[in-house]
């Protein structure tokens, strides 16, 4: 069916409700946050309306620069881990029997019902010295004695990957199911081994989906503020942790808002860069 573009103003009426919701629940709060980021902090109370750049100036320091850098690096690492794990897994899942697919998808969806706190404490138990998985390795004779695996960067990365993986699989699944299975068969008849055909046909054919998934997981991981606190050392804390700290514990709302705005800008910049690079790659 060929759709016609809207002709009259009334043709846009179906958009009124979503646009209204978007304004009330997204544009207004975000605008408020931007406004607050220019307010002046009142040490005795909350904040007073003003227009100062102090909050942004304070942010431009080596310490916050390092935290921002670490946050971006962690989010990129989580995104890459998730995609590297999820693409082959989802590919095999989409080729499995219907029943197997349903069971796996239900299991993955049930992970989404767990709160971040529960995931954090579950992993901190698993990584602990007294009750963790290293005890299992000792029993199997792989290790001499149990050790604590957290707090550490690896623990933060593992838990965040675990938390983001279901989203990754669910985003990739429709694209992989739609991928014509005869494409890989054709690659095999043309002389590519199954592994080779996966890398020369499935991955390139899904390029755009994979880039979109990387961006989604990256943004999801940037917002994560509980797991780094539960499983990491202070140097593993992300900008989101500091924002939470400033907003809730230090009652410095303007500074927290300034950091949040800055984080959004950096994120948008990175996403834009990725899409731009993707366009370039496509044209080449």
């Amino acid at each position: 069916m060929r759709r016609e573009p809207p002709q009259k103003l009334t043709d846009y009426s179906p958009l009124v409700f979503p646009a209204g919701m978007l304004i009330v629940f997204f544009v207004v709060p975000f605008a408020t946050m931007i406004a607050v980021s220019f307010f002046k902090r009142n040490p005795s109370g909350f904040y007073t309306p003003d227009f100062v750049f102090d909050n942004y100036a304070r942010f431009l320091s080596l310490f916050f620069g390092k935290v921002l850098g670490f946050s971006l690096m962690l989010a990129i690492a989580v995104a890459i881990c998730c995609v590297v794990l999820a693409v082959p897994f989802t590919y095999l899942l989409s080729r499995a029997r219907r029943r197997t697919q349903v069971l796996w998808l239900v299991a993955l969806l049930s992970i989404l019902s767990l709160s971040e706190v529960i995931i954090g404490f579950a992993w901190s138990t698993l990584f602990s010295r007294t009750a963790g998985i290293t005890n299992l390795f000792v029993m199997l004779g792989i290790m001499d004695q149990p050790v604590a695996l957290n707090p550490s960067f690896g623990a933060v990365l593992t838990a965040m990957t675990y938390q983001a993986l279901p989203y990754t699989v669910l985003v990739l699944y429709p694209a992989l199911v739609r991928l014509d299975p005869t494409l890989t068969e054709a690659a095999r008849t043309l002389g590519a081994s199954p592994v080779r055909s996966f890398f020369t046909v499935v991955v390139p054919a899904l390029r755009n989906t994979i880039v979109a998934t990387l961006i989604m997981v990256f943004i999801f991981a940037l917002g994560c503020y509980l797991l780094p606190q539960i499983l990491g050392r202070p140097q593993h804390w992300t900008l989101s942790v500091l924002i939470t700290d400033q907003a809730i514990y230090q009652s410095n709302m303007p500074f927290a808002a300034a950091m949040a705005v800055f984080l959004v800008l950096v994120t948008l910049g990175l996403v834009g860069l990725t899409i731009y690079a993707g366009r370039k790659g496509e044209a080449a």
Binding site: D180, T182, E185, A186, R188, T189, L190, G191, A192, R207
Partner: protein
């Protein structure tokens, strides 16, 4: 020499037998069509030749090499899929060069071969186009060129022309046959279109229910069908019961002189093509019937005659137009040489 030999090949999916005890020899350089209704096992048979499915039992040999359990990518074959399966992320040239790239052929040599193949399929200069920008017929050619890039020993095509419109399909059938003869490549095509099979094949293999019913040259399949399924599936035919005893052969309630039944079958079926049914004045032929319908298609005239409760179709050319009308009584003359005697 790289002929293909299938010995006692069977494929079971659970309790369902898709292909049963298939014996088939495809001599080097011949063109074979696997023909049958959907679900007859022809595609499964081809997938086993390609190695995309492994046979439950039996063996497949290509030349002197047993390839029954050789993985697909080591079989050195070319295959065209029904969906064509062109790689959407690659250009026309890259699609064609894929098998060369996988084999580590140098860039310059790849380009030379791609240009050769593009010239062969009359698409010179299309190397850098994305496949999405091609028409159906052009994609078809690219899929063929891609499959032939390494000069495979065996060329397989699964319903290759089914996505094309009728006119283009007929043209491609001729082109494909000419290409195959020029390259002298052993070729197997799966199709459900008997015109396609008759146009292209040296040998037509008619399959039904997972078994080969007859494997023979197209004209023999048409003139001398092996059983009632083949007779009915290939073209139009009249399948008529007969009874034979010492006194003669009874067909449609009358005796047909000269019709001898081999192996002294007491009863069975004869298959007569509509163009071999001759209508005459009643009394001039042993069988008499009543005209029920006349379909004049311009090029041919089909006359439906009811005789002894059975509908018989006669086809005549316009220059031999039978002068009959609905309700008229006519005589039906059958030449014994045109009747194929089959078991019931």
């Amino acid at each position: 020499m790289s002929g293909l030999t299938l010995q006692n090949v069977t494929k079971e999916f659970g309790t369902f037998t898709a292909v049963r005890n298939v014996e088939l020899t495809v001599p080097h350089g011949t063109f074979v069509c696997l023909l049958g209704p959907s679900g007859c096992g022809k595609t499964t048979l081809m997938r086993m030749v390609a190695g995309l499915d492994l046979p439950t039992s039996g063996s497949i040999r290509l030349g002197d090499r047993d390839i029954t359990n050789v993985p697909t990518h080591k079989r050195d074959l070319g295959m065209v899929f029904q969906s064509l399966a062109l790689f959407p992320h690659l250009t026309v040239g890259e699609n064609i060069a894929y098998s060369l790239r996988i084999r580590g052929v140098g860039k310059a040599e790849q380009k030379k071969r791609v240009d050769e193949l593009l010239a062969m399929i009359h698409l010179t200069g299309y190397a850098d186009r994305p496949v999405a920008k091609l028409s159906g017929g052009q994609r078809q050619r690219v899929a063929i060129a891609r499959a032939l890039a390494i000069s495979p020993k065996l060329f397989l095509l699964d319903e290759p022309l089914s996505a094309l419109d009728a006119k283009l399909r007929e043209a491609m059938q001729v082109e494909l046959r000419q290409l195959q003869q020029r390259l002298g490549i052993t070729t197997i095509v799966v199709t459900h279109d008997q015109r396609e099979a008759m146009t292209m094949a040296d040998t037509v293999v008619v399959m039904n229910g997972g078994e080969i019913r007859q494997a023979a040259p197209p004209v023999e399949i048409y003139r001398r069908p092996a059983d009632t399924f083949v007779a009915d599936f290939i073209g139009m035919t009249n399948l008529i019961d007969f009874k034979a005893d010492g006194a003669g052969t009874q067909v449609l309630g009358a005796s047909v002189p000269g019709l001898t039944i081999p192996n002294s079958l007491p009863s069975g079926i004869i298959s007569v093509r509509p163009e071999d049914v001759h209508l005459t004045a009643p009394g001039n032929a042993p069988i008499t019937g009543t005209v029920t319908f006349v379909r004049d298609l311009g090029g041919t005239i089909e006359t439906f005659v009811e005789a002894a409760g059975k509908q018989i179709v006669a086809v005549s050319m316009p220059n031999a137009r039978p002068d009959v009308a609905v309700g008229q009584s006519v005589g039906i003359a059958l030449n014994p040489d045109d009747c194929v005697v089959l078991k019931a």
